[in-house]
Amino acid sequence: MSALFDLFSFAAIGAGVFFFFAGTVGLIRFPDSLTRLHALSKADNLGLGLIVLGLLPRADSALAAFKLVLIWALVLASGASTAQLIGRALRRGQK
């Protein structure tokens, strides 16, 4: 059972690392701010989400698990709102 959990953790965390990697590549390589913003949001939401998912089985209390989910939710909310705000600002041609 524990080996199965470990495998799950490993897979999720590995995928999370990949999304951070992808996000960074996007931030560096994409040609304009709007597409870079898109790459950033993916990394923010998916990368951290997968890491949290991978760590959940290892949480040793309900409080610790709750904290993990809360952290993800907070970053998700922040990321979504700021992405929308930045996007709007970019569309109006500010920098």
Partner: protein, 90 residues
């Protein structure tokens, strides 16, 4: 397994650090800020991984604090974009 968690943490930090090249290159202030935001998220992920690998008490609370403040500088920045725009309109 703990080694793997730490390796993942290191990889994430180093990856997002490459993204910091955007601070150097810009070209716009928004791009620089996005790099910082990515660093913030990556930092939170690395903290969580370290917390579970080393079991130092309180590390998850640090991650919680960072998560709360993730949007902070961006909010301040966006407010000043608006302020500049109004001045330009006048």
């Amino acid at each position: 397994m703990n080694e793997l968690l730490l390796a993942a943490a290191g990889l994430i930090v180093l990856t997002v650090a490459v993204g910091l090249a955007r601070i150097l290159r810009g070209p716009q202030d928004v791009d620089r800020l996005m790099a910082v935001q990515l660093l913030g998220t990556g930092g939170i992920a690395a903290l969580l991984l370290t917390a579970y690998a080393t079991r130092v008490p309180g590390v998850d609370d640090v991650a919680l604090g960072l998560a709360l403040l993730a949007a902070f500088t961006t909010m301040a920045f966006l407010n000043h974009l608006a302020a500049n725009e109004e001045e330009a309109d006048r």
